[in-house]
Structure formats: structure tokens, C-alpha cells
């Protein structure tokens, strides 16, 4: 079946199977920042944006993205580096495997919530698992990032 979408600002048309997930499609398109950590929609590693809203790409059929805008970390390199620098300065990226999905969601949150409380931050990001960091350093990075952007907590 034919799928037409805008991937990181570039219009693409591809043939996909009806049961191809957006995750599989994006990896095949070379968006290798998108990772798989489970098969049960629990880990948040495969988070991408569909029309600017974060979704779990493992649970979205690729065809659902037809006519829509899909954004991965490959399309947000400057913003990823901007927030990522705060994460790096805490050493909280650790193995880094959950970082792309987590950062996609942090960037979505920073656009969606203007002055989030700590509880709102934790709830917004609750679906992004990390086994290395214990989440504390991620929170320190978010606080500093939002404070620098004027959206302090």
C-alpha cells in the first residue's frame, strides 16, 4: 500500500505492508535514533512525533502516518543537542539507549507545558523508562534546561 508523509521535513512516498509499524518503517528509512526496548508499549524508547504529538511508533501502523508529519530525533538535531548538553553535564545519559525517545518526549513537553511543576514533569515522562540513571539526573537536567528557557519549575 502507498504511504505518503513528511519525514523530518522531507516528503516521502513508499510502498508498505498494511501491518508495517511506524517503528519498522522509520528504521528502514534510516532513522536509527528510534529504538525498540519492548514489544508491549511500556518503555517509550520508540517515541516519535506524529503531527507534533509524541506517539509510540511501535504501536502505530505506518499507514496511520499517511498525509501527516513525522519527526524523529534526526529532524531535531539542534534541539536534541541543546537539551542533550544539560543531560550530558549531569552524566545522566549513561548508556544512552533510552535518550532519543526520552528527549523526543522532553522536547514535546517543553512545547506543550509552559510552566510545568515537578509532578507534571514526572507524570508527562512516566512512560519513558531508564534502567541506568534512576531518573534523578534526568530531572536535574530538565530543571536546568527549563530554567534557561524561562519555563522554570
Amino acid at each position: 500500500m502507498k504511504l505518503t508523509l513528511t519525514l523530518n521535513g522531507v516528503r516521502c512516498t513508499d510502498e508498505v505492508q498494511a501491518d508495517t509499524t511506524l517503528f519498522t518503517y522509520l528504521r528502514e528509512k534510516g532513522c536509527l535514533s528510534v529504538k525498540c526496548g519492548c514489544e508491549t508499549s511500556n518503555c517509550g524508547l520508540c517515541t516519535v512525533w506524529l503531527d507534533e504529538k509524541p506517539v509510540l511508533s511501535c504501536s502505530v501502523p505506518a499507514l496511520r502516518a499517511d498525509g501527516k508529519k513525522v519527526t524523529t530525533l534526526e529532524g531535531l538535531q539542534d534541539e536534541a543537542a541543546e537539551f542533550g548538553a544539560y543531560l550530558a553535564d549531569e552524566g545522566a545519559e549513561q548508556c544512552g539507549y533510552c535518550s532519543p525517545g526520552f528527549i523526543m518526549n522532553v522536547l514535546a513537553m517543553s512545547r506543550e507545558l509552559t510552566h510545568p511543576t515537578e509532578q507534571e514533569i514526572q507524570e508527562y515522562l512516566a512512560g519513558n523508562l531508564c534502567r541506568c540513571s534512576g531518573y534523578q539526573g534526568q530531572l536535574r537536567a530538565i530543571r536546568k534546561f527549563l530554567a534557561a528557557k524561562g519555563g522554570c519549575v
Binding site: A81, C95, C130, R131
Partner: protein
């Protein structure tokens, strides 16, 4: 030595590539033409394969091979990544006709696409002779069901193995006269504690691809903590010479010990060996959970005795470990149960540790952060908390009275002397930061919830004494920058950066002047790998030696060019010069000179091993909020006071601590492992196996109290494993302080607490 980088929070050298999502992991680098490998797994916990019909599967378009036990080598091996001769018995085949646990591999399919491989799996017809499984590890020894009856079973080391009795290993040691010491005690308690086979749940599953390189050598790219051990294990399993194998480790998406076993490597490697094609296998999360390398399930019996004044005189500890179907890491994890729990108490006049590791038909165990110490410390620390309660003593006070102190000999710790320990300062700081004296034991909030606190202390080792070996090589390049080649494996912990920090300070240079590279077994110097909390301590030691050698070489070469005696010259990191004269040559110029005309390549390579394994120590205190109606426990605050010797990277040590504590909270409260009566694991996804999210992590406050370890680089000890050891006993203590009920089985679930409170009301 001047410290510009050591004891600072330098950013990890690979940080920006990780946070911008660069393709640096095994699964991102797979060649386009690689075959997709899938495994048919046993639905039975114990069965014999009467026959397999693969003819239909082979007809699926795109299928290249379907391999069964008839196609695989017949040499038994262990997947445990340990120094040869491995203490883990050689009890595995790549594909065995006898299946020993649910998920044991039955057949390997390789196909051009994942869909074809998946379809072919469904077309394989297997005739199983289903046998009764042995699932209860407390009944495994001398059970009529023998898990490993095969004749070519081999134990390389004398670890008390007796496969015919289902014994993977057995051991014991005694210090002092137990009976005499117990007879002097006013209070003696006997308690039994149980822990489960927790999953490491690293975010990147087991993942490997393999191919033949241009020299016809089998190249295996894998997410592994043990590249050099993996080379030998693949050689054993595939029956090909080690010299024909090359292992490459890219970035690793977490390990926690899981990848100290060669879990996924063997299958694509066998496909490449037999087909000549590149092959790729990435485990699903389900496979990672059902057939990974989890913590060993254990049952521990503690007999502890103290006098009325709170002096702990004797502990008798027995541990039974469930190896599951295979003995990987079984004989070694069990040792830490005793050595790294009993040694916390310098007051002990007598102690005994007895252990047995048994085979059953559950998933085989492996290495998981803490490696037995976690289980042993849960048991012993819980027992200490229980005897404190029995004596009416504050559990911090009983520890202050009994815990090991700097300068003491630790008889249960291989007789090593404790040369660096600030446990006393850690305890004082923990009490202050937690406001312990005010909060202990509990208070009831207006909403009926109970706030309570609990405490535990912990230790670990720093590398395996006299076994772990690390080598590094450092080269001075043209232009004056250095290349640091390491064989240890940065799995996210940041050891590449930590070693560069040490090298930069040893060489008096900018950290950006050092490029780090690891690991490729064809290019990197030998290292046993990253496990046993060894990289900072052992590989760091190799960095110190190598830098010293390289400094001398640079000085000698600079002096030679300047035409002076090296004894008159100095090297300050930037230049070689003769004090009081204008004779000087920069490092960059020496680098150029060593290349131009090829007079002398300036490189140094040193190995390091330590005869001791100095323990890091810590105190952990948990404050919980317990809802007596539902039994729900929230860890609201956790105070961690840590002595890991000199802290090399302040950020990374902190994050290691925070991460370990949250992993420990999961073990204490949520991470359940349940088998059905047929031996199938039920908690095989993140839906059923609940690791902590950020909502369960609470606030964690970490402080360091560095001792100075004389045998460590810059005075450093280890940090990685220690930090998972306090949450289980500290949280169990807090729950007891809240409810008056002792919980001795992990995890302590809300329903366990609620039901126990109900029962207490009716009693």
C-alpha cells in the same frame, strides 16, 4: 600529582553522540545483506526431541537455513564470561536434543527477511517427549530428576560439582568457634530469607551480528561486556580456533552483568560459519526476559547471635542458589553471598558460610550487578535489623558498635585488611541527612499513612583479586595527541571517559588531547572485561603504569633530540626542557620527530592485576510512606552515603549510585518472577515485570565520603555494584518499623503487606 580532571564531573566523551541519537549501537550497524536469525524455543521446561521436521520451513521463500541439534557442534561449553579455566561448568550445547527449560533453543532459522524467518519458525514440526520438570530448587539436590545426566558434562575447576546430584557447586568456610560464640550470646535468632531471579532489564536487549571479514575471519559485533572472553567462548562452542575470531564491541545499551554471558552471540555466529553469510540476531524483550542471564534465585538461612549490649558475636549463614538449567556464574555468585555480607561486621568472633548451587528446569542464571552480594546483604542486614529490634536497639547504633573499621583484618574476606573505610563517617552523615533520630522508627500522618525509616550498610569488591587483568596502550601521535587503547567495555558507565581523566592527569595534558578507543579484540590490549566492579580500579591501575612508562619514553626521546642527559631534563606534559636553560622541545615536536624519519614510535603498554579487591562501602537509608489500607509503599526519600575511595568522576559516580538504588527499589518492591506449574515464566514483559518508572523513584540524595585506597588509582575503589545492595534490606526494615511485621521474601508487594496487616488484626 596535579588533578585537573580526576574528581571532577567531566562530560562523557561519547555523550553528545548518544543524546543526539547517532547510530552507534550494534543494531544500528548491521550490514544491509545480513540474514535475519530467529530461534525456535522450547514450549516445555523439560523435554527430549524425538524428531524435528524442517522440510516445510526450508521451503518458505527467503529461508537460507534451518539448523537443528544435528547441525550444531557437540562440544559443551559455558556462556559465562570468566577467566579461563572458568569456574562455571561446561554444560551447554548450542542446540541440544535434551531441553532443560522453557525457551531453550530448538532450532535456528536464518532468512533474507524477518518475516520469512518468522514464518519458517511456524513451519517447523517438532515431536517432543515431554518430561516432568524439576522446578522447586529447595528439592533439587538428590532429586530423581537429573537436569544434566550427559556424559560429556565437564567442570574445569574444583568447585564441589556433582551433576548426578544436581549440584553445580558447593562450598563452605568457617572462622572461629561458632558453638562457643553462640553460647556466649544472650539473643540468637534464626531466620530464612528469599530472593528471586531478577532481570537486569537493560534497555538494549541482547544483540549481535556476525560476518566473515576480508581475511576470512569470523567477525562478531556484539553488545557484550566481555569481548575477550566471548572470543574464547565462541571458539569453544563453534569448534574453531580463537585466532580465527574477532569480536567488536560498539556502544552498549546497558549491561548490569547480563552481557557478561555470551547470550545472543553464538546463534548468528553459527549461521555465518555454516552459510558464509552475514547474520543478525536481536532478542525480543520477551526472549531477553525468558532466556537471558538473570540474578540467581536464593534462599538464605541466617543464625545470628548477640550479647545484651548489642555486640554481634557470631553469624552462621547458609545459602542455596538456583542456577536453573545451566551453571553460568553459579559457583562464583554464591561466594559473594558470604564473603561480602559477613565481612561487614568487624565484631564477629566466629562466622560460617555454607552454600550449595543446584540445577533445576527454570531459566539459567547469570551475572547481575551485586553478583550474590546483593542477596547475602539482604539476608544478613535484615537479620541484623531483626536482632536490633529484639534487643530494643536502634539499628544504626548496633551497626556503629559492630561494623568493620579501617585497619581491621576481614577474616571472611580472604583475610584482607580493610585499608580504606569511612563507614563511620557515612553512618553519621546518613543519620544527619535523614534526620534519623527524629524520624526513627515511624510517625502516623493525618491521612492514616505511616512514615517510617530503615537502614542498611553494604560493601562490594573492586575487581577479582589476582584474576582480573587489564592492559592499556597509549601512543603519542604525530602532532602530540595521544591515543588510549583499552580492552574494557564502556557499557554506559563512562569508563572510557574515566580512564581518559586519569590519563590526562597522569600525562599533564588536556583531556581532549586523548582519544579513547575500545574494543576490538584484534586491536585492543587484553582486558578481562567490565564486570566485578573492575574498570576504574583494575584498568585504572593499568592506565597509571602505562602513563608512567610513556612519560619516561617521551622524556628520553626529548632529551635525545636536545642532546642532553635525560637525568638533567624534565617533562611537564607540554614540553621536555632543561631547567635553567633555554633548551626545550614541545610534546608536539617530539610527536612529529618520532614519526618523521621513523626514529622511534613512542608507545607504552602495561598490564595490571591486583592481589586484593578493596571493598567500597556505603550506608543506605530509606524513608517510606506506607498506606496500611492497601499496603502500598512509596519510597519518598533515600539517603546514600558512599565510600568508593577517591571519586574519579563526580557526576558519573552520583548517577551510578542513583541508578543502582532505583534498580534496588525495583528488586525490593516490584520485580516479581513467577513460574506456572509447567515451568513457564509468567513475568516475561515490561507489562508483567514492573521495573521502576520515575514515579516510583522518589528523591535520592547521594553524598560521598572518600577514603583513600592505597592500592587504587588516585586512591579509588569501585562504585558500580555496591549501590544496588542497600535498598532491599533498608526498605524491608522501614516496612517493619511501620508495621511491626517482618517481610523476608522479595519483592515485598503491596498485597503481601496489606494481607499481613489484616492477618495481624485477626490474630
Amino acid at each position: 600529582m596535579k588533578r585537573n580532571y580526576v574528581s571532577t564531573g567531566v562530560r562523557k566523551k561519547d555523550a553528545m553522540s548518544l543524546v543526539t541519537g547517532k547510530p552507534v549501537y550494534t543494531g544500528d550497524l548491521v550490514p544491509a545483506n545480513a540474514l535475519r536469525v530467529k530461534l525456535l524455543r522450547s514450549p516445555h521446561a523439560r523435554a527430549y526431541i524425538r524428531s524435528i521436521d524442517t522440510s516445510k520451513a526450508k521451503l518458505v521463500p527467503g529461508v537460507v537455513c534451518v539448523l537443528t541439534w544435528e547441525d550444531a557442534p557437540n562440544s559443551r561449553f559455558t556462556t559465562a564470561g570468566q577467566t579461563w579455566p572458568e569456574p562455571s561448568p561446561y554444560d551447554r550445547l548450542i542446540l541440544d536434543r535434551q531441553l532443560r527449560c522453557c525457551g531453550d533453543p530448538v532450532a535456528i532459522v536464518a532468512a533474507e527477511t524477518e518475516q520469512a524467518a518468522t514464518q519458517a519458525l511456524r513451519m517447523i514440526q517438532v515431536d517432543y517427549e515431554v518430561q516432568t520438570p524439576l522446578l522447586d530448587f529447595t528439592k533439587a539436590k538428590d532429586n530423581p530428576i537429573v537436569v544434566h545426566p550427559e556424559e560429556n558434562f565437564r567442570a574445569l575447576c574444583d568447585v564441589g560439582t556433582d551433576a548426578k546430584r544436581n549440584l553445580v557447586s558447593s562450598d563452605s568456610f568457617t572462622v572461629g568457634n561458632l558453638d562457643e560464640e553462640f553460647s556466649k550470646c544472650d539473643v540468637v535468632l534464626e531466620r530464612t530469607y528469599n530472593t528471586l531471579a531478577n532481570s537486569q532489564a537493560m534497555m538494549e536487549p541482547f544483540c549481535t551480528y556476525s560476518y566473515y571479514d576480508e581475511y576470512g575471519r569470523l567477525t562478531v559485533v556484539s553488545s557484550t561486556q566481555v569481548p575477550f572472553h566471548a572470543r574464547r567462548i565462541l571458539s569453544n562452542a563453534l569448534e574453531i580456533p580463537k585466532g580465527n575470531i574477532r569480536i567488536i564491541k560498539p556502544r552498549i545499551g546497558g549491561g548490569f552483568g547480563a552481557k557478561q554471558s555470551v547470550v545472543s552471540e553464538i546463534f548468528p555466529a553459527l549461521v555465518t560459519k555454516l552459510t558464509g553469510r552475514a547474520a543478525y540476531l536481536c532478542y525480543t524483550r520477551q526472549e531477553s526476559m525468558t532466556n537471558g542471564s538473570p540474578r540467581h534465585q536464593m534462599q538464605m538461612q541466617v543464625k545470628i547471635g548477640a550479647t545484651r549490649d548489642g555486640t554481634i558475636r557470631a553469624i552462621d549463614l547458609y545459602a542455596l542458589s538456583n542456577a536453573g538449567a545451566y551453571g553460568d556464574h553459579g559457583p562464583t555468585t554464591i561466594g559473594l553471598v558470604g564473603h561480602k555480607s559477613l565481612s561487614l561486621y568487624g565484631s564477629l568472633k566466629a562466622s560460617r558460610f555454607t552454600c550449595e548451587v543446584v540445577y533445576t528446569n527454570t531459566m539459567g542464571g547469570g551475572a547481575y550487578r551485586g553478583y550474590g552480594a546483593t542477596q547475602g546483604i539482604f539476608a544478613v542486614e535484615s537479620a541484623v535489623n531483626e536482632i536490633a529490634a529484639e534487643l530494643g536497639m536502634d539499628p544504626t547504633v548496633i551497626r556503629e558498635k559492630n561494623m568493620v573499621k579501617e585497619g581491621q583484618v576481614m577474616p571472611a574476606y580472604y583475610g584482607e585488611t580493610c585499608n580504606s573505610c569511612t563507614l563511620d563517617a557515612c553512618m553519621a552523615a546518613a543519620k544527619e541527612h535523614m534526620n534519623w533520630d527524629e524520624k526513627y522508627p515511624r510517625r502516623v500522618l493525618p491521612n492514616g499513612h505511616i512514615r517510617s525509616v530503615g537502614v542498611a550498610i553494604a560493601m562490594q569488591g573492586s575487581g577479582i583479586s589476582a584474576v582480573d587483568t587489564a592492559s592499556v596502550e597509549i601512543r603519542l601521535n604525530d602532532g602530540g595527541f595521544y591515543t588510549l587503547l583499552v580492552g574494557c567495555t564502556d557499557m554506559g558507565t563512562g569508563c572510557d571517559t574515566i580512564l581518559a581523566q586519569m590519563a590526562a592527569d597522569c600525562l599533564d595534558c588536556d583531556i581532549d588531547d586523548i582519544s579513547v578507543r575500545g574494543v576490538d579484540t584484534d586491536q585492543s590490549p587484553y582486558d578481562t572485561g567490565s564486570y566485578a566492579s573492575s574498570t576504574t580500579y583494575v584498568t585504572g591501575g593499568a592506565v597509571m603504569k602505562t602513563c608512567a612508562e610513556l612519560r619516561e619514553k617521551i622524556l628520553a626521546e626529548g632529551a635525545r633530540i636536545l642532546g642532553v642527559d635525560p637525568a638533567q631534563a624534565e617533562f611537564d606534559g607540554q614540553k621536555v626542557f632543561v631547567p635553567g636553560t633555554d633548551k626545550s622541545i614541545t610534546r608536539a615536536e617530539i610527536g612529529w620527530a618520532s614519526y618523521e624519519g621513523h626514529s622511534k614510535l613512542l608507545t607504552a603498554c602495561q598490564s595490571h592485576s591486583s592481589p586484593v579487591s578493596p571493598p567500597p562501602f556505603m550506608v543506605g537509608m530509606a524513608e517510606i510512606d506506607l498506606d496500611p489500607e492497601t499496603g502500598h509503599v512509596e519510597v519518598v526519600d533515600y539517603v546514600a552515603e558512599v565510600d568508593c575511595g577517591t571519586v574519579i568522576n563526580t557526576n558519573l559516580a552520583r548517577v551510578q549510585t542513583e541508578g543502582g538504588i532505583v534498580q534496588g527499589i525495583g528488586m525490593a518492591l516490584f520485580e516479581n518472577v513467577q513460574y506456572n506449574e509447567a515451568g513457564k515464566l509468567l513475568n516475561d514483559s515490561f507489562l508483567q515485570y514492573k521495573i521502576p518508572t520515575r514515579l516510583e523513584a522518589g528523591t535520592i540524595r547521594v553524598n560521598f565520603h572518600p577514603s583513600y585506597e592505597p592500592t587504587g588509582p588516585f586512591g579509588a575503589k569501585s562504585i558500580g555494584e555496591l549501590v544496588i545492595n542497600t535498598p532491599s534490606p533498608a526498605i524491608a526494615d522501614a516496612i517493619r518499623n511501620a508495621t511491626g511485621l517482618s517481610f523476608r521474601n522479595l519483592p515485598i508487594r503491596a498485597e503481601d503487606i496489606a494481607l499481613a496487616i489484616e492477618r495481624q488484626k485477626h490474630d
